[in-house]
Symmetry: C2
C-alpha cells in the first residue's frame, strides 16, 4: 500500500493513526499542499485523485480517497484491532463523533476555504482566524457533550480503547491549537487527546514526526 | 423509530431516501430551522442533539446523529436492499463519493455557514451565492470524474442500483439548483439524478413532498 500524504493535513494524519493502530506498513508519498501553488493540483496527482486533496490510499490497482472511506476500508480489510465497537447503535455513535469533526468542523476550517476567505473575499488574517476558531469551538463543544453522555465512558471518546472517534479528534485538536483556540470548554476532549498521544500509534503519526515535516 | 427532520435539510433528505429504499416506516418530527430563530436551538432539541442540527434518528432509547452515521446504522440493522456493494474496495469508492458531498460540498454551503458570511462578515447575497456555487461546482466536478472512472458504470453512481453515493448526490443537486448552479459540466450526475428521482423511494423523500414543506 502507498499513501499520498502531507504532514500537516489532518485528513492524512487520521489515516496515519489508523494504519499504525492496525500495525500496517505503508509507503508514504509526500504531496506538498503549498509548494509551487500546491502539488495536489498537478495533472499527475489529479489523475490519482480528481478531488485534488490528500490523502489517497493506493492498494494494488485501486485508488481510495476520502479519509473516512479509507479508514472504513482498512477496518473491513484488517478488522483487528477494531476501530468501531461491535453494537450497531454504539458504532453509529462513534461514527457520529467522527463525523462531527469530518463534516461540521474540518471542511469549514480547511486550507482552501481559508484561502477563499483571504484571496477572494479579502478578509484579514484576524478575521480568518476568528472564522476558524468559531467553527472549531462550536463543533468541539458539541463533541464534548456527545462524549460525556455516551453510554460507555473511559479514557477515550468511547470506552477504554481508541476508536474512529479518537482518530478524528486528535488531528482536530492539533489544528485547534494551531489556530489558537481556547480549549478550556472541552476539558474531557483535552484529556482524551493526551491519553491518545501517549500511545505510539498516535505519537508516530504526528505531523512533526513525518519525513516531509518542515 | 422517529426522525427529527426539516423538509429542506439535505441531510434529512438523505435519511428519508434511505428509509424509503429499505422500506422502513418512521415517524417524522419536524424541526423548523428558520422559525423563531431556529427550533434546532431550543433547549428541548439541544437535549436530543447537542450539535443543534437535523436530522436525529431516535430508535428505542438511542439517539443517533449525523446523516451518514444514521444511514450506516440502517445498513447494519437492515442489510437488504444493500446501499453499499459487497467488495471492500468498491464500498470505499461508494463511501468516497458520498463523502465528497458530505465533507467537501455540503458543510461549506450549509445554512449556518452562509448566515455567518451574511451576518458576521457582512457579505451581499450575490457574494454568498457565488461562495455556494464555487464549492458546489468544485465538488460536483470531482464527483463527475469519480463516477466516470468507476470500475462499474450503469444508471447510478456505481452500477445499476442506487447506493449511498446516489443518496448523497440527489439532495446535493437539489441544493445546487436552489443556488442557481450551472450543472452543464456534470452531465453524468444530472442523468443519474433523473434516474434516481424516477424511483418512488427518492421521489417520496423530496422536500416538497414532506408534511412540513412550505
Amino acid at each position: 500500500m502507498k499513501l499520498y500524504t502531507f504532514f500537516r493535513s489532518s485528513a492524512s494524519y487520521r489515516v496515519r493513526i489508523s494504519l499504525n493502530l492496525k500495525g500496517l506498513s505503508c509507503e508514504q508519498v509526500p504531496i506538498h499542499l503549498r509548494r509551487g501553488g500546491g502539488e495536489q493540483h498537478t495533472p499527475a496527482y489529479k489523475a490519482i485523485n480528481p478531488q485534488e486533496l490528500v490523502p489517497t490510499l493506493e492498494d494494488g490497482n485501486r485508488l481510495i480517497t476520502q479519509s473516512l472511506a479509507i479508514i472504513e476500508y482498512l477496518e473491513e480489510r484488517y478488522p483487528k484491532p477494531a476501530l468501531l465497537p461491535p453494537d450497531p447503535a454504539d458504532r453509529s455513535l462513534v461514527r457520529g463523533m467522527a463525523l462531527v469533526v469530518a463534516c461540521e468542523i474540518h471542511p469549514i476550517q480547511n486550507l482552501r476555504v481559508l484561502n477563499y476567505l483571504r484571496n477572494n473575499l479579502k478578509h484579514t488574517e484576524e478575521e480568518v482566524n476568528r472564522w476558524a476558531q468559531h467553527w472549531i469551538g462550536l463543533g468541539l463543544a458539541a463533541l464534548e457533550q456527545m462524549v460525556l453522555s455516551a453510554p460507555k465512558r473511559g479514557d477515550f471518546c468511547f470506552g477504554d480503547s481508541p476508536s474512529l472517534a479518537d482518530i478524528f479528534l486528535v488531528p482536530q485538536l492539533y489544528n485547534a491549537r494551531r489556530f489558537g483556540c481556547d480549549l478550556s470548554g472541552s476539558p474531557t476532549l483535552v484529556q482524551i487527546d493526551a491519553a491518545c498521544r501517549a500511545l505510539p500509534a498516535f505519537a508516530d503519526a504526528a505531523p512533526e514526526k513525518q519525513s516531509d515535516a518542515e
